[in-house]
Amino acid sequence: MRKIDKRVIGVLLALTVLGGAHPLAVLADEMLTDVVVYDKERGELSPGTGAPSSERMVNAIRSAPPGALYAMLEYGERVECYECMPLLEQKLLDSDEPDVREIAAWWLRRRPFGYGRAAVAMRTAVIEEDDAVRRSRAAEALGEFMDVRGLAALSQAAMEDESAQVRGSAVTALGRLNTAAGNPIIAAAMLDDDASVRFAALSQVQRINFFEDHEAIVGRLGDDDRQVRTRAAQLTGELRVAGAEAELAELLDDDSAAVRQSAAWALGRIGGSDAVAALRDARDAEEEGTVLDALDIALKMAAR
């Protein structure tokens, strides 16, 4: 049985790191290394990683800039830093840095103990906080928790909150939950009074499974907001929604070049004689370069 002292391996690995050379390659034939798929102390096994101490994590939460805290919590994915939990719970609502709120939720949701307290706090906050910004952040956190038990609170916020910011965050969070039970809420949000909420709802369609309410998407092709029309046209094409050719063809006359371009691309995806005819007509009338590019390529797409 050929075995090698792990201390020798350690020295060689250190030389590798320090010198940049690869001594193990030279000696590979003479030694064996244990297969390592788990290391309790290090956590991650790749070079340049390693679990931080709880103390470092606490210090980072208290004083590190967003990027540093982000990295610290990633490397500390499995460090059971219980003192970190209440500090990060506070970050969910108090931090002005989106990256900090996101990574705080990411780390908290991986905790078997204490996560429940944070989850309940956010479910309460999204409904009961006075400040719309804090309700919005609570919605973001519930989405980032990816816990379907946040569905009811998020649905209520998406449908009933007086603030468009909160409704938009709640709809986005429902997309993050990615549960079929949230899909009707997302579809309903496509009819919201506020264009930013409608846009947020459309933007979830590609993130969620089993969304089949194509009528809701096609209905937004006539929206009065340019971005909403653009996104609706793209989704119609992406999902190859049959029967939407006439509505898309109308958008080839839209005031917005981005809308015309997206409608052209969608018609190319859907294909068929009606789509081709509409694209050809538009090709003759169009003057905007990037829309002409879309029409040319859409005609080729439709021909395949």
């Binding site: 050929r2 075995k3 940049g20 690869h22 390659a25 030694m31 064996l32 290394t33 244990d34 798929v37 788990y38 309790k40 102390e41 096994l45 790749s46 340049g48 990683t49 679990a51 101490s53 990027g67 540093a68 990295a71 994915e77 499995r78 460090v79 059971e80 219980y82 003192e83 939990m85 506070q90 990256d99 078997p112 103990f113 429940g116 307290r117 989850a119 309940v120 706090a121 990816m146 379907v148 990615n178 079929a180 590609q206 499974n209 089993f210 969304f211 653009t230 996104r231 989704l235 992406e238 999902l239 190859r240 981005a258 997206s262 691309w265 370069g289 590019d293 879309a294 080729k300 797409m301």
Partner: protein
């Protein structure tokens, strides 16, 4: 540092052939023999005057970072006071994410997002001399970035387009961001010729062209505790995705922004996975065997820093004058065209609220001197390339131009094929321990291989799971276990596009090795290799005709038609369909391991204490049993309805999940009951022991110790033991797709394709199409 002399792609053409731009050779010449340079300015100044220091850029992959105010420029001559021509002047609020020059240096492809578009990055092309108008090549609700020209009038790039049966891959370890993969289009037909490559569980990024016509790229690799960025290559038809360097002997975490110097030699940026704003040391990577121009071995890759003063981690302070580098390109002997910023280029920039200032420099690797070529202090100046022709590599024949096999009726009638000629062949100097092995060389242990387990990976795109459990491993399903034949060969027809990793397993079902790298294959692709990581430096194994596995009838090796519902998944508890691991405990274990009078571990526990969230708040205290196999939820309720895990999962997996220093107090199982990714080393598995699930059952055992629970009068069938073994070998996941509330929509209907359908690429790939 060794002296290098490069004969790279950029030296091959005669210098100064192109006359697109004017004067050279005067006293101000910075880039010898180069008339003009194309590059991008990327903004960091925001409307309110603040700096966008690392937004979108604090991970190592150059992905999405829209800060308007940049553009695509040609500088001629390439000197600080040269004439600057903006090729994107017709667009407002521009950001450019990558560019490349055509082989004749007359066109540039680039990725751009601008104010009037649809909110996504798309691929465009422009004439280098500014004539004509900019043409857009790609469209749609996804981002296409980092384009490169390919032989045969094609363009390769990175996209986050969704297309698999489960929609858009979400990289759980990049916080659910949409995973990027590679794709190609033709320069003429754009999206009408779009061809999308197989997916990985994390991002593919930074494509570059190799001299043999293949595409090199960086790939973020997450598989359990593996989390780094390696160097890969593939054919332009997306076949033959192979590791080039970084799997072995890499002393830093990530290698990105790579370019080929010559066949088998590369230069790229070596750095931390995050926190360095995608900048780092310039690293020479040599995978040639004994300097050969035709024999490469990723296992023997050598890494030599060309900027030895620059640290490759994120925490070391970087002195003034040292700085960090981005987007290196070999110009000629010892001369690199680079982007460079002074000082730390790290999170300390965040503390100061000031973005690093990347300018374009000529770097001499021998003298370590830098000469400024261009530096706009208000932008990041990146992706610089000399405007001069270069040799067009040969167009590689597609490996997918084969007749479809109608008997494998899925994915355009083309399955993918994985296999080995002889699984016992390996170049890995590893040892295996546990059960019948004790420090046994892998080459010897592999002789015991009876099957190869094919494991599909997935991530949080499945929806409705907070994580996959108390483990670093992602979602996993066993697509199948292919039989190894007497000649050591095996073959499996599998669902294309998906990421897999493999485990050679012995007669007990125990993995002998756990491949910690994802592999994938395109429809119709055959990825039969020599062995279990056979030597890349040796001549490939020769066979006399077909292997025994290749001669097997299709029905014995076809896993390509398996719907999601038919793949083996191991949910721990709460499955909405099929059984789960807890059922086994309920039926066979909890009669003793229930914390009661008959429980040998009753009364042993450790304590978890979580401080209150505010002064005067409630401290949370949890008592975790040493071993308790019931489905009782531990005291993890908060108020009335938030539940974490059943006792069995917490007691078996929590001890192995606690990395680094631990704040728990009391009697923690040591060693842990389950080692995620290794049943062979798991205390639980050795305790229950393992026996083959065939006619050898009960006559052969993996460990010499008595089988449990047979020693106390309870019988565990071989199949039940296999549930536990697979659970540990796969990584100890709690969730599977069967836990997802809506899973029935996948599980009950294999044809359900919510986003994207079947084969995104249609039927056949054709180069130049």
């Amino acid at each position: 540092m060794r002296t290098t002399r490069w004969m790279g792609l950029w030296l091959l053409p005669a210098l100064g052939l192109i006359g697109a731009c004017s004067s050279q050779g005067d006293n101000d010449e910075v880039l010898p023999g180069v008339d003009a340079m194309v590059f991008a300015k990327r903004a960091f100044l925001q409307d309110n005057g603040d700096h966008n220091v690392a937004g979108g850029a604090n991970r190592v992959v150059d992905y999405l970072r829209y800060t308007p105010g940049g553009g695509l420029f040609v500088l001629s001559p390439p000197t600080p006071d040269g004439d600057l021509q903006e090729l994107t002047a017709d667009f407002d609020e521009v950001d450019v994410s990558g560019l490349d020059l055509s082989f004749d240096a007359t066109e540039v492809v680039f990725s751009m997002r601008h104010a009037g578009d649809d909110g996504h990055y798309h691929i465009y092309k422009a004439n280098v001399d500014g004539s004509g108008r900019v043409k857009q090549l790609t469209f749609g609700p996804h981002d296409d970035v980092r384009p490169i020209f390919l032989p045969g009038e094609r363009v390769g790039f990175v996209t986050n387009q969704a297309y698999t049966q489960m929609g858009r891959r979400a990289d759980e370890y990049n916080h659910g961001r949409q995973v990027t993969q590679l794709a190609t289009i033709s320069i003429e037909d754009g999206d009408a010729s779009r061809h999308v490559c197989s997916q990985n569980l994390s991002h593919s990024a930074d494509p570059f062209l190799m001299s043999d016509g293949s595409i090199g790229f960086s790939r973020w690799e997450h598989l359990g505790p593996v989390n780094d960025v390696k160097l890969f290559r593939m054919n332009p038809d997306c076949t033959d995705m192979l590791a080039v360097a970084g799997q072995h002997g890499k002393g830093f975490n990530s290698i990105v922004q790579v370019r080929e110097v010559e066949a088998g030699r590369y230069v790229g940026i070596a750095t931390s996975r995050e926190g360095t704003i995608q900048a780092g040391a310039v690293m020479d990577i040599d995978v040639r065997v004994d300097g050969s121009s035709s024999r490469f071995d990723e296992q023997q890759a050598e890494f030599t820093s060309l900027t030895p003063d620059v640290p490759t981690d994120r925490e070391a302070q970087v002195p003034t004058g040292v700085g960090r580098y981005r987007s290196p390109l070999v110009l000629e002997d010892n001369l690199l065209l680079v982007s460079w910023a002074n000082g730390d280029v790290s999170e300390r920039n965040e503390l100061a609220g000031e973005a690093p200032k990347f300018g374009i420099f000529l770097y001499d690797t021998e003298t370590e001197d830098r000469v400024r070529v261009y530096d706009d202090p208000d932008t990041w100046d990146l992706y610089a390339m000399p405007v001069r022709p270069r040799e067009e590599p040969p167009e590689r024949n597609s490996r997918l131009d084969v007749e479809p096999d109608p008997s494998v009726a899925q994915f355009g009638a083309k399955a993918a094929v994985l296999g080995s000629i002889d699984v016992r062949q390996t170049s890995l100097s590893e040892s295996v321990s546990g059960a019948q092995f004790d420090g046994t060389p892998l080459s010897e242990a592999l002789v015991d291989t009876e099957k190869v387990r094919i494991i599909e990976g997935f991530s949080s795109e499945v929806g409705g799971v907070r994580e996959f459990g108390l483990t670093m491993h992602e979602g996993a399903a066993i697509l199948g276990e292919a039989e190894v034949q007497p000649d050591g060969s095996w073959e499996a027809h599998v669902v294309p596009y998906l990421p897999y990793h493999l485990q050679p397993i012995d007669r007990f079902g125990l993995a002998i090795r756990n491949q910690m790298l994802w592999i994938q294959a395109m429809p119709g692709e055959n990825r039969t290799c020599g062995g279990c990581h056979e030597s890349r430096a040796e001549t490939a194994l020769a066979t006399q005709g077909a292997t025994l596995a290749q001669q097997l009838p299709l029905e014995r090796k076809n896993f390509s038609t398996l719907a999601i519902k038919d793949r083996i998944e191991l949910p721990w508890y709460g499955s909405v369909s099929g059984g789960d691991v807890q059922e086994l405990f309920d039926n066979k274990c909890v009669s003793c391991h229930d914390g009661g009078a008959n429980d040998p571990f009753a009364g042993r526990s450790y304590t978890v204490t979580i401080p209150p969230e505010e002064d005067g708040g409630m401290e949370l205290v949890y008592e975790v049993p040493y071993l308790l196999l019931t489905n009782t939820s531990l005291e993890t309720y908060y108020e009335d309805d938030v539940v974490s895990y059943p006792a069995s999962y917490v007691t078996l997996l929590y001890p192995s999940a606690m990395m680094g220093d631990s704040e728990v107090a009391g009697d923690v199982p040591d060693p842990p009951w389950v080692i995620p990714g290794s049943a062979r080393e798991s205390r639980l598995i050795s305790k229950v022991n393992a026996t083959p699930d065939d006619e050898r059952a009960g006559t052969e055992w993996a460990w010499d110790t008595p089988a449990h629970p047979e020693d106390v009068g309870v019988e565990l069938t071989p199949a039940e033991r296999l549930i536990l073994i697979r659970m540990a070998d796969l990584g100890g996941q709690y969730y599977s797709r069967r836990n997802v509330e809506d899973a029935a929509m996948w599980l009950g209907d294999a044809t359900s394709t919510p986003v994207g359908t079947g084969d995104i690429n249609g039927t056949d790939y054709q180069a130049g199409n």
